[in-house]
Amino acid sequence: MKGLMIKDLMCLRKQMILFAYIVAGVLVLSIMYVLSARYGNIADANQSMMAENSLSEIDINNISTITLICFMLTPIAMVGDVTTIFKMDGKAGFSNISSILPLSVNKRVMAKYLTIFMMFGIGVAVDIVISFVLSKLTDIISFADFFGIIISAASLMIIYGALVILFCFLFGYGKEDYAIFASCAVILITVILANIKKIKLIFTSLSVGNSDSIDFISDFMNFIIHKSFILLSIAVIVVAVSYFVSVEIVKRKRGMV
């Protein structure tokens, strides 16, 4: 199993180099943003908007937090391209090799999951370092809150990764783009269905000019910062289901991995 994981990591070698550049870029940009939001042009702009009553302090804080969340999500999102391994395996015809190795189907499937989680682990570790640096530079958001965001983001990416792996096995080689589309669709539909009442409320309030949408953003941020354990629990369940279903798919479609 370790050998397959090593092979998968070799497949991701180029992606890892790109990842290193992106992490460096994100770190620089986020530090610039934080410093500007505290002492520079962004801070001045925020002050003037508050003076003109166009935005409240809460709104500005939300915007700053969302911006930082976007920075934080980038490293985790960058390690999340699970399909690279499947694309490369399919192109090489690696199933010829993997199917004759002295590894059970369970172990061969498990290797894929562990590789992906290892990549997410790297993303999380990098994010923790970045958030620690940023939390020392700003009072917009604390390290504890950053940590909540990281767990939420990682959980979301794990859910996405687990779904992509499942769909890649289901659809077969050469259909990785469909797997991405299906995974995004499942996540989007689930989020919409889970928040259907709030979404209706936002559209209603927007039509009458209310600011309930801002409350929705506050609720959303509150959820991902302080209730990350919910997403983490969902991620664990999705991974377990995805793994067992994938094993069954691969057993039925012999020669897939």
């Binding site: 199993m1 370790k2 050998g3 397959l4 090593i6 092979k7 070799m10 497949c11 070698r13 490369m88 395996d89 192109k91 090489a92 015809g93 690696f94 199933s95 010829n96 090799i97 199917s99 004759i100 190795l101 002295p102 590894l103 059970s104 172990k107 012999r254 020669g255």
Partner: protein, 305 residues
Amino acid sequence: MQRGKNMNVIEIKNATKDFGDFKIDQISFAVPEGSVCGFIGQNGAGKTTTIKLILDVLNVDAGEIYVFGQNIKDDSAKLREDIGVVFDEMGFHEFMTGKDINIMMKNIYKNWDEKVFFDYLKRFSLPVKKQCGSFSRGMRMKLQIAVALSHNAKLLIMDEPTSGLDPIVRNEMIQIFREYVLEEDHTILLSSHITGDLEKLADEVVFINGGKIVLAGNKDDIIEKHGLLKCKKDDLKDINESFIVYAQSGTYGVEVLVNDRRACAKLYPEMIIEQASLEDIMLFYVNRSISGTYGKTSDRSDATE
């Protein structure tokens, strides 16, 4: 079943696999330990499918397959520790070097011997640090063979390893296979439609056509028994039907593959009977299957066409 003398390393009993448009139909054969078994058949005859069934890459619909005396359904993953496999396509990622493959394999095979692996790479003149995507077909095959031979495999299963290779590389490979079977407990199952290679190497031969085994046994016995009888079209009617595998028009008359050369030689001393090659035997059996006719009467009509 224990490992030991006269043990069958591979034993297939009535294995069936139905794909709808193609079927492996109740095939049975055995490969004795220490032998080289040539698995012959034209393209699409079912060689690769049978190999995949043996390796448990595909599930059998019915029947049983034993490898090293154990049913492959029991623990095929463990059994594969002792099996080296070479497919006609490489399967390694093009960016991988010999070094990368060594790192991967030593973390998969318990008995992986990296010294043996690098020795083979050196012997085959394969660069260790060059990406295998830039290798020629011959080099790719050699790389696969190096991998298959580097984990102390007791059984080597190869699917068309020599197809598409030039004669020099093919001979080089045959030499390697010969060296491999010098060890008493080493066995080879080699699928090919290049019968010349198998004539040089194989002890046993299994003939598959249209998903059915048409002939199986000791290669020398098969070659010894079969003969290519050449006669005039009019003489065909004199030959006992039970001897005729298939008859077809030749340059100067009719060529008949007979299944008992010595008996025919005694019965028909005036007719020329040559020793049949594996290729002749394969072609006549395949043609018989294609025409769907067996025996003299139909063969005669074919011969007169």
